[in-house]
């Protein structure tokens, strides 16, 4: 009882243990390359998000609208299929043509299909925070990101160190939602394996856990904040990482007084926090770093944003990764869809939907 606080105080003094601001390296299967940066551009559109596939069409969101396009078309022309009063924060599609959308105000409703416009029961404490959806048979699995913040206020949720997310199952035929997992730190992605076990990406704890037990993570200690999970055609999964972790942010997260001042005095876009895009305003914070090499001091400013897509095998072990590095623009990858011959990726920060073809996936770009 007493040792805990003493241990934490010592750790804080030494910068060790729980107070360490160390980061896992990007090496092995997560070794940086430029595959995302050089991938084929499919569509240039502002802040695309929530890519899903119903077997015929690709659906994605753009602000408060849900759009779709035919992936086989050489020049995709997206059509708006629904527009809402609030920004769309998550989508799910089924082979029967049902598309369900979650909105920033917490509403979850049908965006296409026979029940278009119908609302589903809200989950968790209100206002609800739907961050990811998955249609699993006759039920809908919903990630409720946070009890304190709306989905688009994710930056607030991270900086407040919240861990109030949960995952729910809703029977599409009606009935009360059931909670599958609670106490999660911003659950942001869902995937079901062949045994219909639900895997959840937990952004603020940088890991993927099973809904059945979060004690033993399926994948832990990621170098960034994980977003959506998507099934891979050859088996396994794709994991989008929407922003990189940095020592500066890890340090700021420990400095609560500084955070309180920052919340009061600085616009959220300019917080020392991860971001979907960076380098677009001189007001953005920079983390100064330098290395002395051959007697010359070489400065740099690590980016707050990054583009990272990780290919996982069936056991959630990383086998390959695709990057847009600090000098790139295709950052903030939030969702992807595997079409077999290529993977479509939404770069929310880079305002683009891109395609990673088989050759790009097989390549080992420097």
């Amino acid at each position: 009882m007493i040792m805990g606080p003493i241990r934490r105080a010592i750790d804080r003094f030494r910068g060790a243990g729980s107070a360490a601001i160390t980061l896992p390296p990007m090496d092995g299967a997560i070794r940086p390359n430029q595959a995302i940066e050089v991938a084929t551009l499919v569509l240039e559109i502002e802040a695309p998000d929530n890519l899903v596939f119903d077997g015929r069409n690709i659906f994605f969101s753009n602000g408060a609208a849900v759009l779709s396009f035919d992936p086989a078309a050489t020049t995709p022309r997206p059509e708006t299929i629904a527009t809402f009063d609030h920004p769309v924060t998550c989508l799910a599609a089924s082979a029967e043509g049902t598309v369900i959308a979650g909105l920033n105000d917490g509403a979850i409703l049908f965006a296409a299909g026979p029940r278009k416009g119908q609302r589903l029961a809200e989950v968790g404490a209100k206002p609800s925070c739907p961050t990811a959806l998955l249609i699993d048979g006759g039920t809908l699995i919903v990630c409720h990101g946070s009890r304190q913040n709306a989905p688009l206020n994710w930056k607030h949720d991270l900086m407040q160190l919240n861990a109030s997310g949960s995952v729910w199952r809703i029977d599409l035929a009606g009935g009360a939602p059931t909670c599958l997992a609670d106490g999660l730190a911003f659950p942001y992605g869902l995937a079901a394996d062949s045994a219909r076990e639900i895997a959840i990406s937990e952004s603020w704890r940088h890991r993927v856990v099973s809904a059945r037990s979060s004690d033993t993570p399926l994948l832990d200690n990621l170098p960034g904040y994980p977003a959506r999970l998507a099934p891979a055609v050859g088996g396994g999964y794709w994991l989008c990482v929407f922003a990189p972790r940095s020592r500066l942010v890890e340090f700021v997260l420990h400095e609560r007084d500084f955070c309180a001042d920052m919340f009061r005095e600085v616009e959220p876009d300019y917080w020392i926090a991860p971001s979907l895009t960076s380098g677009r305003s001189f007001l953005e914070p920079l983390q100064g770093g330098a290395i002395k090499q051959l007697g010359i001091l070489k400065p740099w400013a690590p980016s707050r944003s990054y583009g990272l897509l990780i290919r996982l095998d069936a056991k959630f072990l990383p086998v390959a990764s695709y990057h847009s590095r600090a000098d790139g623009v295709r950052h903030g990858l939030t969702s992807c869809v595997d079409l077999g011959d290529r993977v479509l990726v939404a770069s929310k920060g880079g305002n683009a939907i891109i395609a990673l073809d088989a050759a790009a996936q097989a390549g080992d770009a420097p």
Binding site: R14, A16, A20, P24, P25, D27, P217, D220, L294, V319
Partner: protein, 499 residues
């Protein structure tokens, strides 16, 4: 040209077992003569006979055409024969300068004068060693430099180098080779033992090859290539096995990340070092001496401690760990096979069985209760001698009497006895002959194939290129580059290590 040194019919037996059999050897004035052979071939014994360290059982030695007997190393030194030993013979508690002038002290010594003189002498050899530093504080490479400097100081006519470059960086080796050329220019004859065949091909004028204590061939350098040398040394061709390049298609898939080193810091040796190690793969760690590879590995294994403040984090099996001593690391499944096997690897006066049993006790002190279980000890000795093909004249042989390759196998056996999940090999084939290198490489491959996470630290690039599934390059205390075998070339890896 008349030979400077001639040895005819030299035989040396230990307890009736011949280690050198009827060997003839000649050394010409001002030549560099490479003496090659597997460990146990009799090279060291032959050179020790030249230097008066051991006496031959039979045979004749002639110096300048006159019969000579070297009863002690001091007698040999007086005759102009100096030897630089593989094992350092320096006094650890004394400074570099004091070691250089050991045995030449006057009644009253002026330390400052000794330091200035030593500094000038070391500079003339291009050895960057602080003469005021205590020898114990020096790394293996610098100790070797001091050892070489001491031999050169005695103005010997014949200098015998036993594995002089094993611990030197490429730059230091370059200086060493230049030094050998300078000595040769002064008319000094050099006998040079090395396991790095390229070195012998680079600097020697003639090569003599021994196998199993017998003389196989002596010829001028032009008559040899690498394959011929290896065939003469081991009796079969191993070039393809030892020096092939690993293809991308042969790379083992990565398993679970078992070790994540994050921003590890220890003084100026390890600085913000970060890397991961995966199960079922060999992670090669290449770097020059002083790049912080061994120090990082020793921190991971609990042999040394990281910085108290902001020392970074080591995560083993996704759990932060901080070992103050190696025992808990061993219990968790991390073992470190040391680069300095003679000092840290085994008890040299104990037998294979004793050493193995001691390793087992390190894992579980209560395994044998209060008493030593002799049957268990014998079983361990038999089992591991067979498993690792440790070649010894008898079961009770002391570790110190084993050849370098077999000693290394003993150290590896002690490590494997701990049933590790992660095994770190630090220079696993340093001072090991080509035959044993092949066996050790096969063993390392087998360990990775069985799913173990293997880290292999090596300064020998062909070894790194041959074995590694991933190549990490260290420079100035951190990993600065990662290559896949498909991408790696010797030039790229070396460039990353130096620039």
């Amino acid at each position: 040209m008349n030979p400077l040194l001639e040895m005819h019919g030299i035989t040396k037996e230990y307890r009736g077992v011949p280690v050198v059999k009827n060997v003839d050897f000649t050394l010409l004035p001002g030549e560099v003569h490479a003496l090659l052979g597997e460990n146990g071939a009799g090279k060291s014994t032959l050179t020790k006979i030249m230097a008066g360290v051991v006496q031959p059982t039979a045979g004749v030695i002639q110096l300048d055409g006159k019969p000579a007997t070297f009863a002690t190393p001091a007698v040999a030194l007086q005759s102009g024969i100096a030897m630089v030993f593989q094992e350092t013979t320096l006094v650890p508690s004394m400074t570099v300068a004091q070691n250089l002038y050991l045995g030449e002290e006057k009644f009253l010594n002026r330390l400052r004068g000794i330091y200035i003189s030593a500094q000038q002498f070391l500079q003339s050899l291009n050895f960057h060693v602080d003469p005021t530093a205590t020898v114990a504080s020096l790394g293996a490479a610098k100790k070797q430099m001091v050892e070489i400097a001491r031999a050169v100081r005695h103005n010997a006519r014949i200098i015998i180098f036993d594995e002089p470059t094993a611990t030197l960086t490429p730059e230091e080796k370059h200086h060493f080779f230049a030094l050998v050329q300078r000595l040769k220019g002064r008319g000094v004859s050099v006998v040079f033992i090395s396991h790095a065949l390229e070195e012998a091909l680079d600097i020697a004028d003639r090569i003599t090859i021994l196998r199993d204590g017998e003389h196989i061939v002596t010829d001028v350098i032009g008559a040899f290539d690498r394959d011929k040398i290896i065939r003469s040394m081991v009796g079969r061709s191993l070039s393809g096995e030892l020096y092939r390049r690993r293809e991308q298609a042969q790379v083992r898939p990565a398993g679970r990340r078992i070790l994540s080193v994050q921003d590890l810091t220890m003084g100026s040796m390890v600085r913000n070092n970060s890397f991961s190690v995966y199960e079922g793969q060999i992670t090669g760690l290449f770097g020059l001496v002083g790049s912080g590879r061994s120090e990082t590995a020793r921190i991971v294994a609990g042999a040394v401690k990281r910085d108290f403040f902001h020392g970074g984090e080591v995560r083993f099996e996704d759990r932060p760990v901080r070992y103050k001593v190696p025992a808990p690391a061993v219990k968790d499944g991390i073992v470190y096979v040391t680069e300095d096997r003679k000092l840290e690897g085994f008890f040299e006066t104990m037998s294979i069985g004793d050493n193995m049993y001691a390793a087992m006790l390190a894992r579980n002190l209560n395994a044998g209760g209060l008493f030593v279980n002799m049957a268990e000890m014998r079983r361990l000795a038999d089992e591991w001698t067979q498993t690792l093909n440790i070649r010894a004249t008898n079961k009770g042989v002391r570790a110190v009497e084993l050849s370098g390759g077999n000693q290394q196998k003993l150290v590896i056996g002690k490590a494997l006895l701990q049933k590790p999940k992660l095994i770190i090999f630090d220079e696993p084939t340093r001072g090991v002959d080509v035959g044993a290198i092949g066996e050790i490489h096969q063993l390392i491959n087998r360990l990775a194939d069985s799913g173990l996470a293997v880290v292999m630290i090596s300064s020998y690039l062909p070894e790194i290129m041959n074995l590694s599934d991933r190549i990490l390059v260290c420079r100035q205390g951190r990993v600065v580059e990662e290559f896949t075998p498909g991408q790696a070339t010797e030039e790229k890896v070396m460039y990353a290590a130096v620039h």
